[in-house]
């Protein structure tokens, strides 16, 4: 079959040629019983030829390579899925709306699922908040970012014969006690730390740095700095004691305590220590006691930090 030639207006006197017949007059919609009949009749279809098959009631167009159903794949209707609303679904122009966005009322809102196929709105947080999971692990929420640093729980000046820091919150990971400028009332006095004001016998032990050992005993009633004490006039020393996992109630307690004192004999020199300490009680640490080994404090400061 010839290819279609388009459209022509014949006028009086025109000669109707075979080419005109095939290119214009025969370019209508050919009706066949089925595709086989079409194939038999039209052995060389041309792009743009049209046919109607009675057995399937389909209109097909030859695309240059094969016969394809006219309108194949066209939508006949649009229906609403989850979170979608549709108006005029059968056309001619449906309107499709994402109904989830109707939940958004404010800039910064976010949507999250509350159940299968269900969403809810979470309003924006405040400045510097971070998105986290709520305590029930059921939904996201905005929360203040954890500082991750040191929170001062108590700070003051060393005086009296003992300083007892009480009421320590258990909501931190570790405790850090920093003692600055310790001034002993008695030249050369060291420092002691006691836990929970527990002066019971055989509860405290300490080991020198880098040491290890087995079958160790608890000969002490406190933790003590491990070197000659502090001068009582030049008080530039500092120490740092970290008590690990202090709030747990299942293990004995452990600490690292390091620092230096100004040498009481030669104040241009210093004495230092890095020791490991153990306290053989399992109760949470709620109290830290600071004591000079003799006399009373003459000065210095203490700060107890909670460490996240």
């Amino acid at each position: 079959m010839a290819a279609g030639l388009g459209f022509k207006t014949f006028v009086s006197g025109d000669v109707l040629t075979a080419a005109d017949t095939n290119g214009y007059l025969m370019q209508g919609v050919w009706v066949f019983a089925n595709a086989a009949a079409r194939t038999a009749a039209v052995t060389s279809p041309q792009e743009g030829n049209a046919s109607f098959l009675k057995d399937t009631n389909t209109l097909e167009i030859y695309d240059g390579a094969s016969w394809v159903a006219y309108g194949s794949g066209d939508l006949t209707a649009v229906s609403a899925g989850v979170g979608i609303t549709v108006t005029n679904g059968t056309g001619p122009i449906p309107t499709i709306t994402n109904s989830s966005t109707d939940l958004i009322t404010t800039a910064g809102d976010i949507l999250y699922g509350t159940a299968a196929d269900t969403v809810a709105r979470l309003g924006i947080g405040t400045a510097a908040q971070v998105l986290t999971v709520n305590s029930g692990a059921t939904a996201p929420e905005w929360a203040t970012a954890a500082s991750g640093g040191y929170t001062s729980l108590a700070t003051g000046t060393l005086s009296s014969s003992a300083v007892n820091i009480t009421g320590i919150s258990g909501s931190y990971r570790d405790l850090v006690l920093v003692i600055r400028n310790y001034d002993p009332g008695t030249d050369g006095a060291q420092l002691n730390i006691r836990i929970n004001n527990d002066s019971g016998a055989n509860r405290y032990a300490q080991t020198d740095s880098f040491a290890y050992g087995s079958n160790n005993t608890f000969p002490l009633t406190f933790w003590q700095t491990g070197s000659t004490g502090q001068d009582d006039t030049v008080t530039n020393g500092i120490s740092y004691c970290r008590i690990f996992d202090y709030a747990n109630t299942t293990t004995w307690k452990m600490a690292d305590w390091r620092g230096f004192f100004v040498n009481p004999t030669t104040t241009a020199n210093y004495n230092w220590w890095i020791n490991h300490y153990v306290f053989n009680q399992t109760g949470a640490v709620t109290q830290v006691n600071i004591l000079p080994t003799t006399g009373s404090f003459s000065g210095g400061t203490y700060t107890l930090y909670g460490v996240k």
Binding site: A154, G156, S160, S169, S199, F222, L291, T293
Partner: protein, 73 residues
Amino acid sequence: MTEKTVIFHDAQTGEVIEREMTAGEIAIYEKDLLDRQELLAAKQKAKTEAEAKRTALLEKLGITEEEAKLLLG
């Protein structure tokens, strides 16, 4: 004799109270002193014994401490 005092610093409330030590606290304080003296004495004893052993060994070897350091260095 000066009264011994103790400070209580409540980390929850920030309240700081200084008061005289009770008899029980003074007893503990005094015991701490004794414990410390025993601790220092034990340390001193261990140190003295170690020094004596080192001196005896140096004499036995017939070398000075500086020469021993050279050998071990």
